[in-house]
């Protein structure tokens, strides 16, 4: 369906309109309504990034909605104090009910927005304002990720120093303004904000654990899910926020599940609003679609009772590998079986030229060792000035030539392998030091040799700090002690095609998005000394390190 080109529709507007909250604080809103007699259903976005009506305003006003864009408390033109990641459901509730009462509003209100603007939708929905009919959060999750330690992976997330800079003061700071490059290795991490010169209000709270995105205080609890009964359209990309997929799984089981929808495409974080035909090194042009139009149709159903698409499948998911859209009744499929690919080697799986393999059964008892030097960490393509929240499907061979990376490759496939769900790794490791990080990439090896990430989120899936393996609280290992880890990898809906190979890469961190593990076991906030660490991956019958891949069992080859 073609998208409307721009908009010649006249609008009426009220800029910097003040909306009173229950405690007397006023929030700033830009209100735009179509020309003509109302009332109109209304759509609300609440943002910490300075309200800029943009594409949502153009498209939604042209489609007959009133569109209201609001600066969150303490941001932009709104009064009060901003607190990152603290629920502001009361502001959301008061906003929705205020909008519903306006003469230009039919009393039906929905919400749209990407990333943090999605988070504010979840928080608002949780308070169940009577006039909120549906939400359409893009690329953000609120699901409890289970027995995961603090900071999701246990590894301090340097990304947040970048994000806190953006929300320093009331305005949205240009992310590229500080000199990240010479400062991102600063130690101790407690004073990183002083070295960079920004984010001073928030970084110390993060260091002290008071801000912990996806920590237990910041996600939906069982009661929240049980009470959620309004339709949700979840949108996300494969190289994007992976907690969104976990959130969908939880949502689908909630009372809201039956009327909710899922859209997953081959895009990164920014691509949710405008998918790009080429991402990283992959042609994903078949995934390009009008995502804003998709949201519009969802809103039409729930705000205008336009039901012409009522028979759609709830899940529209782009299958990578074969590169096709699939309309599904459920995602991930429950008709899967876990298949296992065992890590094995001839004793040296280091680099692309090593002898690591993935085999259907465990090989002989063996191990591979790599040496991690925190002074010379492997680092990915992340452009520090942009620090975008994604890691597109680049060919990873530039990293896999390093001697601190283990590579395990499966056989060349003769039949397609349809994977759907979340991959995991069971891995047995030992260290010669108190601590280290293990990071794992799931790769699709193309016949031409390219080794592509099948999904990612700046290294935060497949990452585990060994000392945090059993949750918050440090549990250092004894030198030589072999510990088993179960590390969740990426979510996927991917076909490994004939002629391709499945591969894993294991290394010791995801710098610079995540902090380096200095190897000493010292508390991370104040540690400045580092040491070289040998990490050994054990495999064989006694320590069956293995990739666990959910494979669709009722799908034949195409």
């Amino acid at each position: 369906m073609p998208a409307p080109q721009g908009s010649t529709t006249e609008i009426r507007a009220l800029w910097n309109c003040r909306i009173p909250m229950r405690d007397g604080i006023e929030l700033a809103a830009d209100i735009t309504v179509p020309a003509g007699d109302g009332p109109f259903p209304a759509v609300v976005t609440r943002t910490p990034y300075n309200r800029k009506p943009g594409i949502w305003m153009q498209r939604l006003v042209a489609a007959g909605y009133a569109y209201v864009m609001i600066d969150m408390r303490g941001r932009g033109d709104s009064d009060g104090d901003f607190q990152p990641f603290v629920h502001d459901g009361d502001d959301g509730y008061d906003t929705i009910e205020w909008v519903a009462e306006q003469t230009w509003c039919t009393g039906r209100v929905g919400m749209v927005g990407l990333s943090y603007e999605g988070l504010t939708q979840w928080w608002t929905a949780r308070t169940r304002p009577p006039h909120l009919r549906c939400i359409a959060p893009m690329a953000i999750g609120v699901a409890d990720l289970g027995p995961r330690p603090s900071f999701d992976t246990g590894v301090p997330h340097l990304y947040w120093s970048w994000w806190f800079h953006q929300v320093t003061g009331r305005t949205q700071q240009h992310y590229g303004a500080p000199s990240w490059g010479p400062n991102i290795r600063h130690l101790p991490l407690r004073t990183l904000h002083e070295q960079v010169g920004t984010g001073g209000r928030w970084w110390p709270m993060y260091v002290d654990g008071e801000i912990d995105y996806l920590g237990k205080d910041f996600v939906f609890g069982d009661d929240d899910w049980a009470n959620l009964d309004l339709p949700v359209l979840v949108t996300v990309g494969w190289w994007d926020d992976q907690s969104t997929m976990a959130t969908w799984v939880r949502l689908a089981q909630s009372p809201a599940g039956a009327r909710s929808q899922l859209l997953i495409g081959a895009w990164d974080h920014g691509g949710n609003r405008s998918p790009s035909p080429v991402l990283g090194g992959l042609d994903v042009s078949r995934s390009v679609m009008d995502t804003v139009g998709h949201v519009e149709r969802f809103l039409a159903r729930h705000l205008k009772d336009e039901d012409e698409h009522a028979d759609v499948h709830p899940c529209r998911v782009f299958r990578t590998g074969t590169m096709r859209w699939e309309d599904l009744d459920e995602w991930p499929s429950t008709a899967v079986e876990s298949t296992h690919w065992y890590l094995t080697s001839g004793g040296d799986a280091r680099t692309l030229n090593g002898n690591g393999e993935l085999t259907p059964t465990p090989g002989e008892t063996a191990f591979d060792t790599y040496v991690f030097d925190p002074e010379e960490p492997a680092r990915d393509f992340t452009n520090l000035d942009l620090f975008a929240w994604s890691d597109p499907p680049h060919d990873q061979r530039y990293l896999l030539r390093r001697p601190d990376v283990l590579v395990y490759r499966g056989p060349t496939l003769e039949e397609p392998v349809d994977a759907s769900g979340r991959a995991e790794l069971d891995v047995f490791v030992s260290l010669d030091a108190p601590d280290a990080d293990v990071s794992v990439m799931l790769l699709d090896v193309h016949p031409d040799g390219r080794m592509m990430l099948v999904g990612s989120e700046l290294g935060s899936c497949g990452l585990q700090r060994v000392s945090m393996r059993s949750g918050p609280g440090s549990a250092p290992v004894d030198p030589g002690e072999i510990v088993g880890l179960r590390i969740p990898l990426v979510w996927l809906h991917h076909t490994f095609l004939p002629g391709h190979r499945i591969a894993l890469a294991v290394t010791a961190g995801a710098f610079p998005a995540f902090a380096r593990n200095l190897g000493t076991g010292e508390p991370w906030a104040d540690a400045v000394d580092s040491r070289v660490v040998s990490v050994t991956v054990h495999h064989g019958p006694k320590h069956p390190s293995r990739l666990v891949l959910p494979i669709e069992n009722n799908k034949g080859a195409e």
């Binding site: 507007a13 910097n16 830009d30 932009g76 003061g169 992310y175």
Partner: protein
């Protein structure tokens, strides 16, 4: 082009500076990579000191403020970049112009005490920030100033020749809160056509904007304007001042006015005027308004600023002192260094004449060097519902910053409500440099009217016309105005430095609107409050008794030197 490593610049964001009344102002500080003693440059803006704009295409200059600040820091300066009171991350309330002298002085004083400040300070800014730099310098002296198109707050803002400039409503939307307003979002075309003029801010959706207050003070000498600010005039700014503007920059007249007073005060000052509109004055490109001015026309604003401050603030001043006046002569398409922006050698008068049908570019209107002997007049109908557009299409102010901006005027001069008067072709290069002045005898049957005059260069065979300058007067602002009789108006135009090449002709275009640069005049005695519009029957007279004419500042000898 030289390579500058900005990657190690030290920076501190949202540092709080306390103003004398206790209000906290927010500044970002950028410092050279290594500790030392450095001169400090202060700039203060209402447009967000660390914004991440959408980048304009085809720009060679830095694209976000922090790019510029990092460049200056890497070249040996400490940069203190502040949000003005009530804007961005600064506390307090934004009252345009009111606090810039004192807040700026407090910021300069604070900057002087920075541990790595070597005691030498400069200040810079563009537009409002240019005003803020001048205002601060009037209250706390600095050693040098570099200012692009400063707002002239003390001299009356919302009008030219008594006609209301609609770009100020656009500006009020931009600064209507703490953060920048979404300037591309409002439907400007219908807002600028809404009535009454005094209620246009309500049509915009900004009922709290100071628009009606400003319109209550249309007279530039109204004390309202000087009371807005305690600084920003030239007299107290003795520091060497660099002023930059462009021939099609909305701030050209204010810049030239400031130049007049600052250069009269003595001292080492410098003026640079290029072939630019407002956006290109800040980020020059070689193709502007659809005309290729040549790669030599492009001046890197950061290098210009650095050259100025290196000369005045560093111990090792660059050997080359900047020329006092450097103007880009359009038509010749070359820079010219002058000792002063001077009166002409000669004023040549060209007289408007016709056989009564000067309408459109193929009418019979002429500009002649000899005063006409016969009385005649040209007539047209001014329709307020169909004003003469400043740009093709719907033209809003955001478009003037876009690549679509054009100096070609043929899209408008086919209209019957445009009178055109064209000279014979010149046979030698003819340099016009200064302020052309039009004396127009014009008549309306309504109770008010605008008279807009534009000077153009007509290329051989009329293959192209290039807009050079314009002037406007609103009849109702002139005491002598009476409806139904010809009234003489003196209309100074915007400044030019243009050389007409052999085979080219001069053209004067007379209209009664230039929309949306100026509000449409509805012809009512109630200029601000009228909501009804009627067509006006307008005429321009010429002849011995009503000698409509244009006075052109000619520079003959220079012209011949160049031509020889």
């Amino acid at each position: 082009m030289r390579f500058t490593d900005v990657s190690r610049v030290r920076s501190r964001f949202d540092v709080r500076v306390e103003a004398r009344d206790g209000v906290e102002l927010s500044v970002d500080v950028y410092m050279p990579a290594d500790p030392g003693d450095y001169p400090v440059l202060v700039t203060r803006t209402p447009y967000d000191n660390n914004r991440a704009d959408q980048k304009p295409p085809a720009s060679t200059a830095p694209q976000v403020p922090s790019d510029r600040f990092k460049l200056l820091a890497a070249r040996g300066y400490i940069v203190v970049a502040g949000d003005v009171r009530g804007r961005g991350d600064s506390d307090g309330e934004f009252e345009p112009f009111r606090h810039e002298a004192t807040d700026g002085a407090d910021t300069v004083t604070w900057a002087r005490d920075l541990p790595e400040c070597n005691g030498r300070l400069g200040s810079f800014g563009a537009g409002y920030a240019g005003f803020a730099a001048l205002a601060a310098a009037s209250a706390a002296p600095v050693d040098a100033l570099a200012v692009w198109s400063p707002f002239a707050a003390a001299e009356g803002l919302p009008t030219r020749g008594g006609a209301v400039r609609l770009d100020w409503l656009f500006w009020m939307h931009l600064v209507g809160g703490r953060v920048r307003g979404p300037v591309d979002a409002p439907p400007w075309r219908s807002i600028f056509r809404s009535r009454p003029l005094s209620g246009m801010h309500e049509a915009l959706g900004r009922p709290d904007a100071p628009w009606p207050d400003w319109l209550a003070h249309l007279e530039p000498r109204d004390p309202h304007w000087s009371s807005l600010t305690s600084g920003g005039g030239a007299e107290t700014n003795a520091a060497p001042t660099l002023l930059v503007s462009g021939w099609w920059d909305g701030g050209l007249s204010a810049t030239m006015k400031h130049w007049e007073s600052v250069s009269a005060s003595g001292g080492r000052h410098s003026l640079v005027i290029g072939p630019w509109d407002s956006a290109r004055t800040r980020r020059p490109v070689s193709i502007m308004g659809g005309v290729e001015w040549g790669p030599g026309s492009v001046v890197d604003p950061d290098e210009l600023l650095l050259e100025w401050f290196d000369h005045h603030l560093r111990d090792d001043p660059s050997p080359r002192a900047p020329a006092p006046v450097r103007v880009f002569v359009t038509g010749r398409n070359a820079w010219e260094d002058l000792d002063r922006w001077s009166a002409a050698d000669d004023v040549e008068t060209l007289w408007l004449t016709s056989a009564g049908r000067a309408n459109t570019r193929i009418g019979d209107g002429k500009l002649t060097p000899h005063a006409p002997t016969r009385e005649a007049a040209d007539h047209f109908v001014h329709d307020p519902d169909n004003p003469v557009p400043w740009q093709p299409g719907h033209g809003s102010f955001s478009r003037t910053g876009s690549a679509a901006f054009t100096l070609e005027t043929s899209f408008a001069t086919g209209r019957d409500d445009t009178l055109t008067y064209t000279s014979a072709t010149v046979d030698v290069p003819t340099l016009v440099r200064g302020t052309p002045v039009v004396h127009l005898f014009a008549e309306t049957d309504r109770d008010d009217a605008d008279w807009v005059v534009s000077l153009e260069d007509v290329f051989p065979g009329e293959t192209r016309t290039v807009h050079l300058a314009h002037g406007v007067v609103r009849a109702g602002s002139v005491p002598a105005f009476r409806s139904g009789v010809p009234v003489g108006y003196r209309i100074p135009m915007t400044q030019v430095a243009h050389e007409f090449q052999p085979g080219h002709a001069l053209r004067l275009v007379v209209t009664s609107s230039l929309f949306p640069l100026y509000a449409v005049n509805l012809g009512s005695a109630d200029y601000l409050g009228a909501t009804e519009a009627e067509r006006g029957s307008h005429s321009v007279s010429h002849g011995p008794r009503l000698p409509s004419r244009i006075e052109l500042p000619l520079h003959r000898e220079e012209t011949h030197d160049q031509a020889s």
